[in-house]
Amino acid sequence: MKELKILAVVVFFTLLTYFLVEPYAHSQMHKHVDSEGFTYADLPALTKTGDKTRGQELIMSAGCAGCHSIEAAGMPAPMDGVMAAQSYGVNPPDLSNAGALYEAKFLSDLIKNPAHALKVEHKFDAASGKMHPMVPFYGMGGDIDQEVADMVAYLQSIAVKAEEVTPAMAFEEACGRCHAVGYENWTQLGTKPKFKHEKDSLAFDIKLLEYQDSLKAYMGKLPPDLSMYFRSRNEHYISTFIENPQNHLAGTAMPRVGVTADAAEKVIEYLADSADTKRHEREAIGMNVMIFSIIFAIFALLWKKQVWRDLH
């Protein structure tokens, strides 16, 4: 039938144009980075099985708590976030759930050589005197790999179970000390509370600005607010960026955070909730609208057939 032929021509040229300006042009514009599935293949494989009791003693004696809080073990932060950032550039993370959020391989390497695991050796080079603010663990006299395995085992034992990690928890602990998410009311100093008085609100903002100043000095610029990142970057981009920022932005100050594949998924879900809050509603309503459109088209077709019966 002639009309179908015409339709085929229209559809062909439409799809050709679409293909050229969308998938093809974007494949030429952006570097393609493959995901490694958060396996951190570049880091040495784990050979030792850790003992959590030994690990607890090691963590106490190694002085981790000098900078890190471990709320789950009843150890509060030695100083508040603003002061910590003034000392270290960024507020050191609480270690309560580190065992659940970060890959064991990554934690093991991080404890021994932070700049290496974080992939920021271009910024922190011990040889030229620029030390990473986190002091490496040089061992307590025994087999350092065994000691590190013990420490990791301890962190895993106190952390919440992997299935209990919520999107907010994953984001706030792994990303939220550098990145704000304004649309979720998240700042680098935590969720901004509701203040009755303007004065208290401004006092909070001033503390936040002080924190951000330290962060800016440490990172080179203020890490961006991620409120809309789920829509301004695609999911694959965010995922591979979290896995290894250097793959997308060579030389960036952002460290590799070393999250597990599950934790990365949670982080992305958090970002999706911020930037694409209504996505579930959109899909549900979309289905209904599609069904209606098809019924509408069928009735229109039947009506046309009836009307045209007299014309031909």
Binding site: E3, I6, T17, Y183, K278, G286, W303, Q306, V307, W308
Partner: protein, 404 residues
């Protein structure tokens, strides 16, 4: 003074004052449409429906949008997308419709070119249609500024800079358009005004003109047949609807119009809910930053072909070529020197011209988006030169066309 009698019904009352029966006849039941037309003749109705969707969704966006450089991005991405119930729906409908409307405009335009529907009394339809294309372009551009994302800002910067006209250095004109040295508050406010008031008003006026221009010459048909509308209408009204070559606009053709609209809406809503990325560019979900240009900036897909005509040349030549591309379509009824009002397939060289022009514009569109490097630059330059050359030879190939 006209003679009024006591009305026998509401319809009679209205009829005496507004001639509703005559209007109904002129606009619908005795508005004769040839039978030998295909679904491409329903593009006008699709455009009207899409314009309606744009207007309705726009009304709801307008109620929450704030035209301020500090709050515009927030009002769109937080208030409308997260807070307002169904706000996301209006934005998706508006964004997708703004993009799809150009696809349909291009189909509508190329249909007109293919069937020669700009000749022999139909020149005003073509001209008013091209004016609509220009105002729709301005409407799309001004609307693109409003979310005040990175693409809004940098498109605003680049497009307004075109008005410095290269070596003429009309920098004062650029600043006048912006109301500032860079796109800022005054710029956003005035483009907001253009987008929600002046341009829609112009579009509505032009749509009226476009419809009016069609009424007397009637629509063309797919066989290039000259139809005696009066004779055929008489046949139809006498009851011989099967043998008449014409049909009523309503409900005869309208039912087909709406059938095509129904099929179009399935496609449209699929895009709205699942495949909107082409119309709501991800880069524009980054807030405007006057100190950082995105790695890749490109116009929306429907401006790419004319953008590519600007791009491969040195600035002054590029501007001349760009200006040429903007006005040349308007002159089509006079550049086509042939008397034949028949489909391109029966017009020899013109058929080749048509398909080459279509493919060339698609090539230009693709090259306009691809990074201007290596082979893409060369293809872009060749396609731009071909575009210009094609228009220059058009009068020559059509002048000697054989009469069919």
């Amino acid at each position: 003074m006209a003679h009024f009698t006591k009305a026998t019904s509401v319809k009679d009352w209205l009829n005496q004052r507004l001639a509703v029966e005559t209007v109904e006849k002129v606009m619908a039941s005795e508005y004769w449409i040839p039978k030998n037309i295909n679904f491409l003749w329903a593009m006008g109705m699709i455009l009207a429906v899409t314009f309606g969707l744009l207007t309705i969704s726009g009304i709801f966006l307008l109620m929450y949008y704030q035209p301020s450089v500090d709050t515009a991005f927030y009002s769109v991405n937080y208030t409308i997308m997260r807070e307002v119930d169904f706000g996301w729906l209006w934005r998706h409908v508006h964004g997708v419709a703004a993009s799809v409307v150009f696809l349909v405009i291009y189909i509508h335009m190329f249909t007109g070119i293919y069937y020669g529907s700009y000749k022999k009394g139909r020149e005003m339809i073509w001209i008013s249609g091209m004016l609509l294309f220009v105002t729709f372009s301005a409407e799309a551009f001004s609307g693109y500024m409003l979310p005040w994302g990175q693409m809004s800002y940098w498109a605003g910067m680049v497009i307004t800079n075109i008005f410095s006209l290269g070596s003429l250095h009309f920098d004062g004109l650029v600043e006048w358009i912006r109301g500032d040295y860079v796109p800022a508050q005054a710029f956003l406010n005035r483009f907001f005004m253009l987008h929600v008031f002046l341009l829609p008003l112009a579009i509505m006026g032009l749509i009226g003109l476009h419809f009016a221009a069609l009424r007397i010459p009637h629509v063309n048909n797919q066989d290039g047949e000259e139809i005696d509308f009066d004779a055929e209408a008489k046949k139809y009204l006498a009851g011989d609807t099967k043998n008449s070559k014409v049909m009523r606009f309503a409900n005869d053709f309208l039912s087909k119009d709406l059938m095509v609209v129904g099929l179009f809406l399935i496609f449209f809503f699929y895009l709205v809910f699942w495949h909107y990325g082409f119309a709501l560019d991800p880069v524009n979900f980054d807030p405007a930053d006057g100190l950082k240009t995105p790695a890749h900036i490109y116009p929306e897909w429907y401006f790419l072909w004319s953008y590519e005509i600007l791009r491969p040349f040195p600035v002054d030549i590029g501007l001349v070529a760009f200006g040429f591309a903007q006005v040349i379509f308007m002159l089509l009824p006079w550049l086509d020197r042939s008397e034949n009002t028949v489909p391109a397939s029966r017009r020899g060289k013109f058929a080749i011209w048509f398909w080459v022009m279509l493919v060339d514009m698609i090539v230009l569109t693709a090259m306009g988006k691809l990074p201007p490097e290596g082979i893409f630059s060369t293809i872009g330059l060749v396609a731009a030169l071909l575009f210009i050359a094609m228009w220059i030879i058009l009068p020559f190939i059509t002048k000697n066309e054989k009469k069919v």
